[in-house]
Point group: C2
Chain length 303, copies 2
DNA sequence: AAGTTGTTTTTTATGGATAAAGTTCATGCT
DNA sequence: AGCATGAACTTTATCCATAAAAAACAACTT
């Protein structure tokens, strides 16, 4: 059966809005709520019904207003707000990156389905989607081949990344002064400086910043294939570093400095400076990945 | 139910082998046949059973040998040797490229499933696979958006293609004399010259040659992401030109000459010459596509 | 007429079943 | 032992069913 994660997530959001006073007094119309929560009216109505049922909202002759205060256990647990497909993704990535899954292993849809507790269909859809990342390969009628999260993979990934980023950075610097990208860039620079001050506690915030920065660079002269490629990078890094926290603070600190130099270079609009800063940053990112890759292999042997 | 296209295709191949005398006299072992036909022994046995049943092969105390001559209607029709997934692909591409499917159209899995006579699952798997081509986009819980086979698409595609091909061509030219790629290149050059002589009747053969040529260029310094990207190009061009034959001979003739110039440039190992020849060829390919694209739009409005 | 809510219809996300194809195990023959 | 066939088992390709979510339709209200 289809999961009701959309409803549960919407319910939690609505509960939060109530708690934070965003829906004080009389509630807006179903259509208005629908717009705010980005779900269909059908789902909004389901949420409202439950809110009324739990007396978080009261309904009197067709008028809805806030009811009793929201308590913490009014929320559905997080796991129930994530669709199956996302769970499959998470479990697969864990299986692949944390287990001792070796290059050359063949992937069995049925086995994964059993292991993850889903139908084979879901596994297969995930694998098809995932195959674009260059880590697995389909052999018809037979199964999938895991090619390995190897150094080769990282090298090939970064070769393309450098090409794309140099191209985008140069085009970025050619934008007219009037372009809104410049103020966005300035804002990002500030955000970097801010983070630098609070680095002790908040170094995890870097990955969001990193993402925003690289996406901004592509924004100036969009190309769907470059965007798609950046999706791969984001995805891979997200999961890889989720389980590989060694030196995280150190790493991020260095990257922040590189970003700032890179931003300065962009602002200077000096083509050579841009190339140097861009290459420096990507080379360092590559080194970091490669280091963690070999380190990762060793530990996984002992695991 | 799963189609038995693997069996039928294997059967047809076996029948051809019998007809062409490749299996004269006593047949090889099941394992040997399995290897030759690239299917499992299970399938080989099924084929053999049917061959015996139709008396194309005779079996006498465990020994199999050729039977009556193969006739044309011993073969299964082609349509039955193509798996469902491939049919979906073909029908979808036709729907997209030939129908008057406009950019912005939303794609309905259920409707396509009915239209193509397959289960929704097959449609969905195809769409997921196809989404990497940058022409459609998924909106969760809602459906797919067709972004259109537009000029923007072609421009973005070719921007990447130029980057990749320049990179690969330069790396190609840096290969040592001893590398086997040089003789492959020479062979390809000859094939081009040959085709040029017989261009009148055989200009369709160009697309195979084109493919071989560009794949060879990538072969020297492989990168999976570049290969994957070239898959997109191959796929798109295959279907687009399948229904868009205007000026085909003219187009191919020009391309052959460009290829030859490009090959000469590679053999000269002169970096500048290579860049010029490569850019010239790709620019011309892009123009051809763009022209057919606008022409295509107009005709499809009238269709 | 435009915006509300109630109801019905359509479509997507997910699980399940099964024939075909692939793989492994068992047995027998040189 | 090493290869051939036979039989049993496992996995993939494919269809079908259904609850959840979205969309469309209808009736009502101000």
């Amino acid at each position: 059966m289809r999961t009701d994660t959309v409803y549960k997530k919407a319910f939690n959001r609505a509960a939060n809005m109530l708690r934070d006073g965003q829906l004080a007094g009389e509630l807006p119309s179903e259509n208005e709520l629908r717009r705010r929560m980005c779900v269909s009216r059908t789902t909004v109505r389901k949420v409202l019904r439950e809110l009324v049922h739990r007396e978080l909202v009261t309904e009197r002759n067709g008028l809805r207003s806030t009811g009793r205060p929201v308590s913490d256990n009014d929320h559905y647990p997080d796991a129930e707000t994530t669709p199956r497909a996302k769970h499959v993704e998470q479990q697969f990535m864990e299986w692949m990156l944390r287990g001792d899954t070796r290059p050359g292993t063949s992937i069995n849809e049925l086995e994964l389905a059993r292991q993850f507790g889903v139908a084979t269909n879901g596994i297969r859809e995930f694998l098809i989607r995932f195959s674009r990342f260059g880590l697995i390969e389909k052999r018809p009628n037979t199964g999938w081949l895991f090619k390995g999260f190897t150094e080769d993979f990282a090298l090939e990934l970064f070769e393309i990344r450098v090409m794309f980023e140099l191209r985008s950075a140069q085009l970025f610097s050619l934008q007219p002064d009037s372009s809104p990208i410049w103020s966005k860039l300035a804002a990002l620079k500030m955000a970097h400086a801010d983070l630098l001050e609070r680095i002790e506690g908040r170094f995890h915030d870097f990955s969001g910043l990193d993402n925003r920065f690289h996406r901004l660079i592509n924004e100036a002269s969009p190309n769907r294939f470059i965007d798609d490629f950046y999706d791969i990078i984001t995805f891979i890094f997200h999961y890889h570093y989720q389980w590989n926290k060694q030196d995280e603070k150190q790493r991020n600190l260095a990257a922040i400095h590189e970003h700032i130099a890179y931003i300065d270079a962009l602002e200077s609009r000096n083509s050579t400076r841009i190339e140097v800063a861009c290459r420096a940053h990507l080379a360092s990112a590559r080194e970091t990945l490669m280091r963690s890759l070999t380190g990762f292999d060793e530990t996984s042997i002992n695991a």
